[in-house]
Assembly symmetry: C2
Homo-oligomer: 164 residues x 2
């Protein structure tokens, strides 16, 4: 099993996301995350997909994506030449027994407290997915109330670009 | 026109995202962003959708979402009681004329340089969508190479939760 990070440049039209998502369903690809956001050109969006699978699955996914209408460019980003980030908001219970442990962990992970009430503490954290998962593991025994994570965005290092 | 932030709690099954995206296409909703991520329970994912429209469009969207298979909970988050965040990776050209302006702006926006080569500078920035858009406007004349943004994630302040 290998981890793939795939960047897709699409025209910003109704139905593109449905076609992409529909293709995953029909083909049974087990994707880990999907993000979609506008680029600096509002006519185009960039989709980032992460998936675990063998080489055959990765190649299949890329070939299927290339066939879809409004998909302009598809590229598999190389792990060792790519920066990946994810954002998570996590809300945990606020109690006198756990508060200092929550604050210390947030500090160590360079996470930010963005809401604080007598009931709950809401923390914003960014990093590679492994860091986000590790922070969830630290928070679990302290009482997670809610989690909202974005999924992965990724850019190649240096001058390599997906192109338009 | 009003801005809606809608949180959707779904079972983590093949096809959920397709059904959600397909419904938008059929109904012609003009969504601004969509993120989907696992929760602390791997059987459930949380989708966050932002959309501009009138009250009727917002109500329609919520009612349609509630009807979909595997959708467990739908909630419209109130703007003044919600924390929203987005993450963007942005790669700009590195030249001696623009470098100090890029670095100063990154500093002011509390953004982080996460890759630096002779050709390009890659910056990670988080914040509300308006802050992200403002940073793009600052970088535009300095030479944007690539952008990858996650779309919005949102949690209600304090003890209010979407529920499971």
């Amino acid at each position: 099993m290998k981890r793939f990070v795939i960047a897709v440049y699409v025209e910003n039209k109704y139905g593109v996301l449905t076609r992409v998502a529909g293709m995953f369903m029909r083909k049974g690809f087990n994707i880990d995350s999907l993000t979609v956001g506008e680029t600096d050109n509002p006519e185009y969006s960039r989709i980032t997909i992460t998936l675990n699978g063998d080489d055959y699955a990765g190649e299949q996914l890329i070939n299927q994506l290339k066939k879809l209408h409004n998909v302009k460019k598809v590229k598999c980003l190389e792990n060792d030449n790519t920066v990946e980030r994810e954002l998570m908001l996590i809300k945990v219970s606020n109690s006198s027994e756990t508060r200092s442990e929550i604050m210390d962990a947030a500090d160590i992970y360079r996470a930010k407290v963005i809401d604080y009430t007598t009931e709950t503490i809401c923390i914003e954290i960014t990093g590679e997915p492994a860091k986000i998962n590790a922070f969830i593991d630290v928070m679990k025994p302290l009482g997670i109330v809610e989690i909202c994570r974005t999924g992965v965005v990724a850019l190649e290092r240096g001058g390599n670009i997906l192109g338009k």
